[in-house]
């Protein structure tokens, strides 16, 4: 009970914006997590590939921001850390897909030559 009351009355608790800002920011990593179920070809669309590289930088910056801001916002830090992880994973999938697509094109051109 004491823990709950401590949380409820905390200066970065649910009565303050310090709490609800990061709550809404969770929509970003959750949307990205849902996207991991989709095939990597969908990442290679120009908007999504650019957006997703942007997100890697964005979350890195905001992790630092969450650490340096007063009061220190660990909730925000965790949110952006998880987004960073998902976005880097998506980036790795995209890079792997690029190699796969290049090999596929080579195989097709070789097949058409034969």
């Amino acid at each position: 009970m004491e823990i709950l009351r401590g949380f409820w009355n905390s200066p970065i608790g649910p009565k303050t914006t310090h709490f609800w800002g990061p709550v809404f920011n969770w929509s970003i990593p959750i949307a990205a997590l849902l996207d991991t179920k989709k095939p990597p070809e969908m990442i290679s669309g120009n908007m999504t590939a650019g957006l997703q590289k942007f997100m890697c930088g964005y979350s890195a910056l905001f992790m630092r921001f969450a650490w340096m801001v007063q009061p220190r916002n660990l909730h925000l830090l965790v949110c952006h850390a998880s987004n960073e992880t998902v976005q880097l994973y998506q980036l790795s999938r995209w890079i792997k897909a690029q190699e796969y697509f290049l090999k596929k094109e080579e195989a097709e051109t070789q097949g058409s030559k034969d």
Partner: protein
């Protein structure tokens, strides 16, 4: 005179030597992408949940930027702009649905 103002900006606690400046500055790119989407993509492609989330989060972050230390006007500006562009996207989609619904009704 101008140089001292520049110095004041440069040495500000939320100035370009700190993360408090660069994080919101990076966020402007997100806003610009949304604005580009407004002018290039048709209203059907607007996603209700995405724009609603951006609008709500923009509003909350605008409030947040006034209660943190240092007070971050850059973040306030970008969050409010986020709220404005996302609300506009939502209004586009709603208008599109209204006009389409009325044309469907006329067909019957």
């Amino acid at each position: 005179m101008a140089f001292s103002k520049f110095q004041a900006f440069y040495n500000h606690p939320a100035g370009p030597k700190t993360i408090h400046f660069w994080a919101p500055t990076f966020k402007w790119a997100l806003n610009i992408a949304n604005v580009v989407d407004i002018s290039t993509k048709p209203a059907e492609t607007v996603s209700y949940p995405q724009q609603a989330a951006l609008a709500c989060s923009g509003l909350i972050w605008a409030k947040y930027s006034t209660v943190i230390t240092p007070k971050n006007w850059n973040l306030l500006g970008v969050s409010f702009a986020m709220f404005a562009t996302a609300s506009y996207q939502l209004s586009r989609k709603i208008q599109h649905e209204f006009t389409n619904a009325s044309t469907v009704a006329k067909e019957y």
